[in-house]
């Protein structure tokens, strides 16, 4: 069996193959798989134009976030790392929020200015992260661990700067409607997404996944520590560049079409790890598949829940994710992980 293609990958691939058709049937209008026409006059349209792009988008975004989380945890050698913590997602969100604010001046409809500015924000975050963290890996003369510490601090600083600017943009919102739109958008969702969003996100996430796949062996070597990894021929500058590009593409594209969807990158690799040999390279593919399953299930669940308005996907995942994070911290303290 090739490295990376392991039992966990097969399990989650099989699960995904079951979940995708189920997700297509579930919603306010339940569709009878054996007689689509009997489910109502618009059943075929609902299926092809609403549910299918939404399901594909959930799979694409979940796969990107899951794999990005696995790579990030491998790089930082820490099961508590989440790609959302390190500046790229908050910068993408800042770009998106700025598009609400600047939308009137841009020669684009909001439908396009938002994702494009979100991608620009993600790109800016990536560049900042690579520039600052790159200084930590270039000379190799710092104290042990300084490269990763610089990466973490740079990421957190970019994230908090982006967060502050986003808050500023909200307080300066041009009107009440824009304000409500911004707040609503920040809590990520896949409601009313179409094929246009799929075509925008899928190639970028696919490219990001390809880039992340190249980091596997270097991340494995990093299990032994930075110096041992370098002695095995790992080039820290190349690894940093690949990681930032891969995480930037997957996370940036996800935020651009769906807003902030937190905790997937944190929870998924953690759940998948015990099913693998725990090497970062073994974790990447099953984390992508499991991430796709999680976002698909969560998105189907918020669609089905009998609430007045649909629960936002980002909120739902954070409601699951935050208690999980605490539980993880407590387990780590007891040394069970």
């Amino acid at each position: 069996m090739r490295p990376g293609v392991n039992r966990a990958s097969l399990v989650f691939a099989a699960l995904l193959a079951v979940l995708v058709p189920l997700s297509l049937l579930a919603g306010r209008v339940w569709i009878n798989p054996f007689d689509v026409a009997a489910s109502g006059p618009n059943a075929a349209v609902i299926l092809m134009e609403l549910r299918l792009p939404r399901a594909v988008l959930a799979v694409v975004i979940g796969a990107g976030l899951g794999a990005a989380g696995a790579a990030m945890q491998g790089y930082l050698r820490n099961p508590l790392a989440d790609p959302g913590l390190f500046g790229i997602a908050p910068m993408a969100a800042l770009g998106a929020v700025a598009s609400f604010w600047l939308g009137a001046w841009l020669p684009l409809p909001l439908q396009w200015s938002l994702p494009i500015m979100a991608l620009a924000g993600a790109g800016l975050g990536m560049a900042g992260l690579a520039l600052i963290a790159g200084r930590g890996v270039s000379d190799g003369a710092g104290a042990a661990g300084s490269g990763l510490a610089l990466f973490t601090l740079a990421g957190l600083m970019i994230a908090s700067l982006a967060g502050a600017l986003t808050a500023l943009a909200i307080t300066l919102a041009p009107n009440a409607f824009a304000l409500s739109q911004i707040v609503l958008w920040l809590n990520g969702a896949l409601t009313d997404r179409s094929w246009a969003e799929v075509w925008l996100a899928a190639p970028l996430v696919g490219l990001g996944l390809g880039v992340l796949a190249l980091t596997g062996r270097s991340l494995d070597a990093l299990t032994l520590g930075e110096e041992a990894a370098r002695s095995l021929g790992v080039d820290p500058a190349r690894l940093l560049a690949l990681l930032v590009a891969g995480v930037g593409l997957t996370v940036g594209a996800s935020v651009a079409v769906a807003g902030i969807i937190g905790f997937v990158g944190l929870i998924v690799p953690h759940l998948v790890r015990p099913l693998t040999d725990r090497m970062p390279s073994s974790l990447m593919l099953p984390s992508a598949l499991a991430g796709a399953c999680l976002v698909l299930v969560a998105d189907s669940a918020v669609r089905v829940l009998p609430l007045v308005t649909e629960l936002r996907l980002g909120i739902a995942l954070s409601l699951i994710g935050a208690p999980f994070f605490l539980w993880l911290l407590l387990r780590l303290r007891r040394g069970e992980v």
Binding site: G140, A141, A221, L224, E227, L232, G233, R278, M279
Partner: protein, 246 residues
Amino acid sequence: MLAAEDLTVTRARKKVVQGLSARFLEGEITAIVGPNGAGKSSLLLALAGLLQAAMGRVLLQGNALTELSVRERARAIGYLPQTPDIAWDVAAERLVALGRLPHGDDGREAVEGAIGALALEPLRRRPISQLSGGERARVLLARVLAGEPRWVLADEPLAALDLAHQLSLIAHLKACARSGQGVVIVLHDLALARNHADRVLVLKHGRLVADGPPAEALSEAIIADVWGIGAQWLGKPGAEALAPRA
């Protein structure tokens, strides 16, 4: 042959190794000793090509280390860091297999050879968290040996091991040297260096103050000069102990 030529290494703008020249031979265990902060670990990192020389150079079989590709260097020189800092709780054999990374193959034979040489067969499927310090040290050395490097450079491989495990690991390092590999180890314990090394380098403030057979390089006069303590060697050659004078 691995050689340092007028090597100066700086870390955080401080010269930690200054104008050091020394030759290391295959088939020998060379121990690098010195007080805390003498530059032992920095010298080892520079010899492994992991710390750039500010001045001078490191030569591997007559070629400057900096002119080799990263991969060639990684194949020739195995480096074992001081702290067994393992991020994920992987099985022992997966960790050993990481040694093949510079070769880009799974090198089944070399991995099995390293597992056999360090008597890890019964432990191979155990996660690293369930191993004792001594077992873990053997796994990490096996990781280096799985890469079949010409040089084994180890930073304090015997620290934190009990006496029996120290002697067992030394026996493995001696076997490496007998098979033609060059072994360079940083040691804190002067008695281990005196009893087991073929050659000893003594460092003080980043400078080489003695280089020779253990009995000469670790004479009582040099120990008094470098460590500032009066001490004498007791016992038979090969099993000597260092006793501070009252």
